[in-house]
């Protein structure tokens, strides 16, 4: 540690990891992880969200929830913005997750074609 800049670099390295504990984020991503969700492949979707959000350096938390109720549309993902508005994405996979992170969370553009309304 030679200078304040060294310290700042070290801080920024760990900071991202700790943001998780702050409870402040622009978006909240909720992945349906009931038995049906897991069987339909929710786990890789969850991981894709976590990794992509970190890679893009976005302020969003990823949590999971039990069965959302529409098992035939699994894997299901809900995204809440700060005002509590919900968007539901269906038949998710890891590639769609990456796209949604970039567009929806990164630029605020809802990926309409993946939402429940499009089915």
């Amino acid at each position: 540690m030679k200078s304040l800049a060294d310290l700042k670099a070290l801080r920024d390295q760990t900071k991202k990891r700790l943001d998780l504990r702050d409870g402040e984020s622009d978006y909240r991503v909720v992945v349906g992880m009931g038995t049906c969700g897991i069987a339909a492949g929710a786990r890789p979707v969850l991981n894709a969200f976590v990794e992509e959000i970190a890679k893009e350096n976005l302020k969003a938390s990823v949590t999971q929830i039990g069965c959302i109720g529409m098992c035939s549309y699994e894997p299901l993902v809900e995204i809440y913005d700060k005002e509590g508005n919900k968007t539901t994405y269906v038949h998710m996979d890891a590639n769609k997750a990456v796209e949604i992170v970039k567009k929806h969370i990164g630029q605020g553009i809802v990926c309409e074609n993946y939402t429940i309304g499009a089915k």
């Binding site: 760990t14 700790l18 897991i38 949590t63």
Partner: protein
């Protein structure tokens, strides 16, 4: 990549209820499920709500589980962590009074909602054994700023302007203390952190050291060579301090030429044997020098002539824990919190007859009612609030009429108590105030170092008089003598310990003289605590003649004929153990 953090309280309270085993179980089960890369288990410092420990927090979900047992861990892992279904039965919650619905949102729970955390800001959030987590929360930035962007005079000035006052009890302006030491010309100066927390029921400093040791180390570096004087009875705090000092040295945040400046600073940890008087600064310095821990007359003050005869700054743990925040956010920010003459926040160890015992940090000026009722949840079992004792053995009691006065250094003194280090013990109608005064005096008699006569002999006499009153031998003269002696000790004892020792007696006399008088005039203890003044009897109209009480009496003091004659207690034989009262199914045994 981690998506979830499981924070487990590793403070002394939760550790004693097996939080370390809970941590091991989480680690084991997460590995079994192959989730160890996604979910990180972190041992943190105290969350504050010790009553409900062990506490496990899950983020980013912001769920707090309380009173978690090792057996509960598999349910949390399988349900919550794996499937995202919260385990509601373990979740911390309030009940909304209007709707009777449970409130789970941790940011809305009254215990936390009213608090403002500065000194405790990292406690329960970071792993105290990992310097990187401290740094991630802007740790050591203040030191960097102070060393590379500010002059020493600017640092002192900033602290002065912030209005920070000593959190150990005295309330002396910290900046002024630093200025005195800075003015002294000497080749060596020292900084001491006073972590000899001794008030019964107080654990603010312990929790800060356990939960956020680096905050204290950083502040001490901001302030020259230092010592941390902690009591040996704080094993977890000592272990974490040693780890923290080691990590800071490794990163070059302690040692020679910090941040490539010509500033060098290092720390040593000294352990005290736990004598209460060693919390007094001159006694503490004597103890560091290897002498017997006894106070010295002041002046000279430590800022002029302290440890090894060199100018010494000596501050309390909590005071230091505020320093880095002041440097980072500025004096004006700190000044904006709290009251005009007492800026910032204060940490209290809330205990006694209150629903949520634990550690709370509130802005100065918060009222006692807010702390005791809104955060603390009031007295349990609908008992009537009687008094609150602040300032430990040096402080005094405050009663119901003071509940709405704001808490700061000056109002508490004006009300006849003091801030002290932050112990806050709530008492209800079942507490006898004479007995409380006797409890504190007993503590003082044990802890008096014996150097000066008023304290050594005087407090012993006070204890004898209090015992006489509690045991029914007191007269009105005893009360007069008691009061007179209190004032003599107050004005003649050498150090703070002796000068403040009579406070619990004086303040209970002031507010509860009627209780003292009931003890001597009527030989009656109104709160039914003083055993010598109580007697058990059986109400013949309620007695069902079952003989259960007589069977449970260990000294055969109860006689009667089962089914024929009501039972009776022979008070000359009775040892007042209460076994009859607990055994009776019909509430026929009375205590008067």
């Amino acid at each position: 990549m981690e998506r979830m953090n499981v924070l487990i309280c590793g403070g002394t309270g939760c550790t004693s209820s097996k939080s370390d085993l809970i941590e091991q179980e989480f680690t084991r089960l997460l590995q079994e499920k192959g989730l160890e890369k996604e979910v990180k288990v972190v041992k943190t410092g105290c969350f504050g709500l010790c009553q409900k420990g062990p506490i496990v927090a899950i983020h980013p979900d912001r769920v707090f589980y309380c009173q978690v047992k090792v057996e509960d861990v598999s349910e949390i892992v399988n349900e919550h962590i794996y499937k995202g279904r919260r385990v509601e039965r373990l979740e911390m919650h309030d009940v909304d009074e209007a709707t009777q619905e449970k409130v789970f949102n941790i940011d809305k729970i009254r215990f936390y909602a009213k608090q403002k955390r500065i000194a405790l800001r990292n406690c329960g959030v970071i792993n105290p054994e990992d310097i990187n987590e401290y740094i991630a929360r802007d740790g050591y930035m203040a030191l960097g700023k102070a060393l590379t962007e500010m002059t020493p005079a600017e640092v002192v000035d900033e602290i002065k302007k912030s209005g920070l006052r000593g959190r150990g009890g005295g309330g002396f302006p910290t900046g002024l203390k630093w200025q005195f030491a800075a003015k002294e010309v000497n080749d060596q100066k020292y900084v001491i952190c006073n972590a000899d927390e001794g008030d019964p029921g107080a654990f603010m400093d312990r929790s800060i050291l356990e939960g956020d040791p680096h905050s204290v180390i950083e502040a001490m570096a901001i302030a020259g060579y230092g010592y941390i004087y902690s009591r040996a009875e704080y094993p977890i705090a000592v272990e974490r301090l040693n780890i923290a000092i080691g990590q800071a040295r490794e990163l070059g945040l302690l040692g020679k030429n910090i941040f490539s400046t010509d500033f060098s600073f290092d720390l040593e940890l000294r352990l005290g044997a736990g004598a209460f008087v060693c919390g007094e600064e001159t006694a503490l310095i004597a103890s560091i020098e290897g002498k017997r821990g006894m106070p010295m007359p002041k002046p000279p003050f430590p800022a002029q002539k302290g440890v090894w005869g060199k100018p010494t700054i000596i501050n309390n743990v909590e005071t230091f824990a505020n320093v880095a925040q002041i440097i980072n956010n500025g004096a004006d920010w700190f000044k904006s919190i709290g009251t005009e003459k007492s800026s910032g926040t204060k940490v209290f160890a809330l205990g006694g007859k209150v629903v949520n015992t634990g550690l709370v940090e509130v802005p100065m000026g918060t009222t006692l009612r807010e702390v005791i009722y809104e955060i603390g949840g009031g007295c349990p079992n609908n008992k009537r609030f009687k008094a609150v004792q602040t300032g430990g053995p040096s402080g005094g009691c405050l009663t119901e009429k003071d509940l709405d006065s704001p808490i700061d250094f000056d109002t508490l003194v004006a009300k006849g108590s003091m801030m002290g280090s932050g112990g806050m013990i709530v008492m209800d109608e079942d507490n006898c105030m004479v007995d409380i005064a006797r409890f504190y005096m007993d503590f003082i008699v044990d802890e008096s170092c014996g150097k000066c006569t008023p304290c050594r002999v005087g407090t012993k006499r006070l204890l004898e008089m209090l015992t006489d009153i509690c045991e029914g031998r007191g007269t009105m003269e005893t009360i007069d003598e008691l009061e007179k002696l209190c004032y003599t000790i107050k004005s003649t004892a050498l150090c703070g310990l002796g000068q403040t020792a009579p406070n619990p007696v004086l303040s209970t006399l002031r507010f509860f003289r009627d209780e003292y008088e009931a003890h001597v005039k009527e030989k009656r203890c109104p709160a039914k605590v003083c055993k010598a003044l109580l007697s058990y009897s059986i109400d013949p109209t309620k007695c069902k003649k079952c003989s259960l009480c007589a069977k449970n009496c260990p000294v055969q003091a109860i006689s009667g004929v089962p089914g024929v004659e009501p039972f009776k207690i022979d008070t000359s034989k009775c040892i007042k153990c209460g076994a009859c009262m607990t055994s009776c199914h019909f509430n026929a045994v009375e205590l008067r």
